[in-house]
């Protein structure tokens, strides 16, 4: 989230699209409803089905799964055609006026530079035009035909209301009501916000869906302000923190990049990763990259890391290619991966094409699962239909302490790192994950000291001190993360003190400032709210630098005056010559007239309506899902032209619309959490949602002879599952380009372990993903349904 939960109360219009906030983040609606109580805010729900969120919304608009870019593209077009954007914001804070290379073009669903064979773009033509000093050229009148604004207008002019509604199946008047209501927040005195989640990310166009709405928010001047922003509702208690800490193949802590094979020296790596700006006004904050990276190396390798040995840079493994979830399971299925650790993750239920993932687990020599309950993954060897005698995998299931049986911080969706305490000792012989990791690493260090094997240095030379071996301390680790001035031994005040010469250490620069000489700031419980905007600066701590709303420089006009004085986040105090309010996303003492750019993490200091660093185009474009019952009416490109099509084991099959004519989507429900493995062991929650079900319209039910409560079979090209029918008026067939398209819905929280069991919906989902993120397309695929099993 650019903003945070409480800030929802400051909004005038809250659109919930690609998420189901009332069901999956119930506390968010405490604040959404407060906005309605106190500001007469409008709540909009856009969703293929009428949900508990929709029941609380002022406006509900249905759309067919996988057509979000068409819908949002229509909103962008509506905003531009009716001139509802914030002109000053767009000119000064976005790259609307920047001129793009004359070689850039777009036709028939493809941007310039497409290589059909590689299914990739060469983005050379997506570049800024530069002046003789290398500074991007701008036309602040926005009239130049090569400026971003004109290109944007041109691109989205194709998303007229009729075309949009033909694609999405949304009733025309509902679409217009949404567009009109939300675009009214282009008024500088109004704020509109978006709450999205996996309903957007889990598409082959996921990244561009989010970008589309970010473009709309920038046009309306809704980023950086209270009650605005682009807000990803993260699905797990600490998926924010675990991403910040880089439990992902492509990252190191703090969104630093993972070294790759071509990084033959630290300098080569830093040159690749550190952006350069020739614009003297630009802050280009990522220019500090080397300071963050070298401080990380000092935290990991301690005194072993010296300038002479490139701070042990070469002790890090170097990647070649993609190692995301689907790639890992392909490798596993092919027998290339022999050992697997699962820390509270349950891929036998949560992974796409789950039968293939379950089968892949059989290829492992060993599997270590750490969890608080028995999971489907940990008992894959005795899953229905498996013969344990044939499965040679050695399986360890380690009993973990629960969240209330250990100490440490977690980061919520609003980036607030909150400290939690040991309320009770772990059950039985359960141990904290920290204890388990520490015990393992200490053993491995001993093993490698005794018997080195290939290249033992990354293990033997790793700096590893978590307090005592038996009682590792989260506080000791939190201080390592915050970082030290190594000459004085003092904790850093924050990351602005990080150095690139080896004199500071810092485990994650984003969290530097969370545990300082002043103590553990994440444990703070101060309840003061000096701005009255619900920022609560002394409650816990939030990254970066305790800044509660990021990009907040954009909440003020070029003079440093808040767009809406009643909703001020920061403001320039002329007398004091400093910014006040929230921690400014700008130099505290840098006056607004310096015009250093409101988006300091970008080399040009401007937010990008035109994005040159995406795999699949600088502007979002609608393509149909990988499996779709209809043709793309916008261009001859049926699917995202950059989707990776290389996942094709014998268990990866694509469904056709003849055999599988129905659109299906998966989702979560309030009563179960993720794969359900924590909640399906809890009778109080089981009794609320006891069985796997499928939601379908009365029209489809009639066609198939299905009655409410019937046990049904739902099949896709990958497999079939059993589910109880919930026949409901909340699902309606879509009229798509004059054709009736049925859609059904499936919760994905069931499996064969636990007290409440059921077939995993992910048996049906395909191994296909977004080209930028490789997040699987769980939210739109084809299936068939019939009564009985």
């Amino acid at each position: 989230m650019t903003n945070h939960w409480i800030d929802l109360k400051n909004s005038d219009c809250i659109i919930v699209m690609g998420s189901n906030a009332a069901e999956n983040h119930p506390m968010s609606f405490r604040w959404a409803l407060r906005a309605r109580d106190e500001r007469s805010a409008r709540i909009i729900s856009v969703d293929p089905r009428f949900t508990r969120t929709s029941s609380l919304a002022d406006i509900y608009a249905p759309l067919r799964s996988g057509t979000d870019i068409a819908f949002i593209g229509g909103m962008i077009n509506y905003c531009l055609q009716n001139q509802l954007y914030n002109q000053e914001y767009v000119v000064e804070y976005t790259n609307a006026g920047h001129l793009i290379s004359e070689d850039f073009s777009f036709s028939e669903g493809l941007f310039s530079g497409y290589d059909q064979t590689a299914r990739k773009y060469d983005n050379a033509s997506w570049a800024y035009q530069l002046d003789e000093n290398g500074v991007p050229l701008e036309d602040k009148t926005l009239q130049n035909p090569h400026c971003v604004f004109q290109l944007l207008k041109n691109h989205f002019s194709r998303y007229d209301v009729d075309t949009v509604c033909k694609i999405t199946g949304t009733p025309r008047e509902k679409f217009l009501e949404v567009a009109r209501t939300f675009c009214a927040t282009g008024d500088p005195r109004k704020a509109g916000t978006i709450m999205y989640a996996m309903g957007w990310t889990q598409h082959t166009t996921g990244t561009q869906i989010i970008r589309a709405f970010a473009i709309l928010q920038l046009l309306l001047g809704n980023i950086g302000i209270a009650g605005g922003g682009v807000n990803a509702l993260r699905g797990e208690p600490n998926v924010q923190g675990s991403t910040d800490y880089a439990l992902l193949f492509h990252l190191l802590p703090g969104y630093l990049k993972v070294p790759v094979d071509k990084d033959t020296s630290l300098q080569a790596y830093l040159d690749r990763c550190t952006p350069v700006s020739k614009d003297p006004k630009s802050v280009n904050y990522w220019k500090n990259y080397p300071k963050f990276m070298i401080s990380l190396l000092k935290a990991w390798y301690g005194e072993n890391a010296t300038a002479e040995n490139e701070f042990c840079f070469h002790l890090l493994p170097k990647a070649s290619g993609n190692y995301s979830h689907m790639s890992i399971f392909q490798s596993m299925y092919q027998g290339k991966i022999k050992g697997l650790f699962c820390w509270g993750q349950n891929p036998a239920v949560s992974g796409p094409n789950a039968l293939m993932e379950q089968k892949a687990l059989e290829k492992l020599d060993w599997l270590v699962c750490t969890d608080i309950f028995e999971t489907e993954t940990s008992i894959f060897w005795k899953r229905p239909g498996a013969n344990p005698g044939d499965i040679k995998t050695e399986v360890f299931l380690l009993p973990a302490a629960s969240s209330s049986e250990k100490e440490g911080s977690i980061s919520n969706s609003g980036r607030w790192a909150q400290w939690r305490y040991t309320c009770e000792q772990p059950q039985g012989e359960a141990r904290s994950d920290l204890w388990i990791m520490n015990s393992l690493m200490l053993r491995l260090k001993r093993l490698y000291a005794q018997d080195p094997g290939p290249f033992p240095d990354p293990i033997t030379r790793l700096s590893w001190n978590l307090g005592s071996a038996d009682k590792p301390s989260a506080a000791v680790v939190a201080r390592e993360i915050n970082g030290y001035d190594l000459s004085s031994g003092r904790l850093l005040d924050n990351f602005t003190q990080c150095q690139d010469n080896g004199t500071t250490s810092c485990g994650n620069w984003l969290y530097s400032g969370s545990y300082t000489e002043a103590g553990n700031l994440m444990a703070r419980r101060g309840k003061d709210d000096p701005t009255g905007m619900g920022l609560y600066p002394n409650w816990s701590w939030c990254w970066p630098l305790n800044r509660r709303i990021i990009y907040n420089r954009a909440s003020c006009d070029t003079q440093g005056r808040p767009w809406d004085p009643d909703r001020a986040v920061i403001w320039w105090n002329e007398a004091m010559q400093q910014w006040e309010g929230d921690v400014p996303d700008y130099g505290k003492k840098v006056p607004p007239k310096n015009n250093a750019g409101a988006f300091i993490m970008k080399t040009e200091g401007h937010a990008r309506l035109f994005g040159m660093d995406l795999a699949d185009g600088p502007f979002p474009e609608h393509y149909e899902p990988y499996e779709s019952p209809v043709d793309n009416i916008l261009s001859s490109q049926q699917i995202n032209p950059c989707v990776f099509l290389g996942y094709n084991t014998d268990l990866d099959k694509k469904g056709n619309q003849r055999e599988f004519p129905i659109v299906a989507t998966t989702y979560r429900i309030t009563e179960h959490w993720q794969s359900g493995i924590e909640t399906r062991w809890q009778p109080w929650l089981c009794e609320l949602m006891p069985e796997m079900f499928v939601e379908l319209s009365r029209e489809l039910a009639k066609e198939k002879g299905i009655s409410n409560g019937d046990l049904c079979t739902v099949a896709s090209a990958r497999g079939s599952i059993r589910a109880v029918a919930v026949v409901t008026a909340r699902f309606r067939p879509f009229l798509v380009d004059n054709r009736v398209v049925h859609q059904i819905g499936l919760p994905w929280c069931y499996g064969y372990a636990g007290l409440a069991t059921g077939d995993p919906a992910n048996i049906l989902t395909p191994n296909i993903g977004d080209p930028n993120t490789r997040i699987p397309e769980y939210k739109a695929f084809l299936c068939a349904i019939r009564k009985g099993v």
């Binding site: 939960w5 409480i6 999956n24 506390m27 993260r234 208690p237 600490n238 910040d244 439990l247 493994p317 990647a319 070649s320 979830h325 890992i328 596993m332 290339k336 697997l340 699962c342 820390w343 891929p347 949560s350 608080i372 028995e374 005795k382 005698g389 995998t393 050695e394 360890f396 299931l397 629960s402 209330s404 440490g408 977690i410 919520n412 607030w416 939690r420 305490y421 309320c423 039985g428 359960a430 994950d433 920290l434 393992l440 093993l447 094997g453 990354p458 790793l462 978590l466 989260a474 680790v477 939190a478 485990g507 409650w539 009563e671 924590e678 062991w681 993120t773 997040i775 699987p776 769980y778």
Partner: protein, 188 residues
């Protein structure tokens, strides 16, 4: 704030009672002649953050003699103001569940049952497995001669439910062992 802080109930009670007094105009507890002190009045209170969605609701855990007797929303939290959803409200049942894992479980190759093991045995065996697989699948150079020093035969998944400090240590551990097959719930 330390763990032994008494007064969470006071905090929760005070907040709730003042709400009651504020709206009722009198103190309910005073007029109830039969008032019995609640079990939680004698309990120790500690706060935790809800382990389900990412709202970050604060929860008070009441314990007596080290055993959880009650869990409810923390009224001091500006995020949830004492409220919780169905999952958060069920935290008590997680703490008490007879189904929680309490011993290390091990399944030998080809076996159809779990066996219970002790930690030392399991950790020794896992470390040995990690070392064998790392050493057997370690790749020093790519086919075009670039030095990569990575372990291709081990993958690591998860971490979205554990604490930041654990995530950091896991990232450090995984990278030091040369893992490149590293992903978690943010992807799925």
């Amino acid at each position: 704030m330390d763990l032994s802080r008494r007064g969470f109930l006071k905090a929760s009670g005070a907040a709730a009672a003042s709400a009651a007094i504020g709206s009722l105009g009198f103190d309910l507890s005073g007029v109830s002649a039969y008032t019995h002190p609640l079990k939680i009045s004698y309990a120790k209170e500690t706060t935790t953050i809800c382990p389900f969605c990412s709202c970050g609701c604060s929860i008070i855990v009441h314990t007596v003699d080290g055993k959880v007797i009650n869990t409810e929303g923390d009224p001091d939290s500006p995020i949830n103001e004492g409220a919780l959803c169905a999952k958060g409200s069920a935290l008590y049942q997680e703490a008490h569940s007879e189904y929680r894992l309490r011993k290390v479980r091990y399944r030998a190759p080809g076996s159809s049952t779990w066996e219970e093991k002790d930690w030392d045995w399991a950790l020794d065996r896992i470390s040995r497995n990690v070392k064998n697989t790392r050493d057997n699948t370690f790749v020093t150079k790519t086919s075009d001669g670039l030095i990569v020093n990575r372990t291709e035969g081990i993958a690591n998944l998860g971490g979205a439910a554990i604490n930041n400090e654990e995530c950091y240590i896991l990232a450090k551990l995984a990278r030091s062992l040369g893992f490149v097959n590293l992903d978690h719930q943010a992807r799925v």
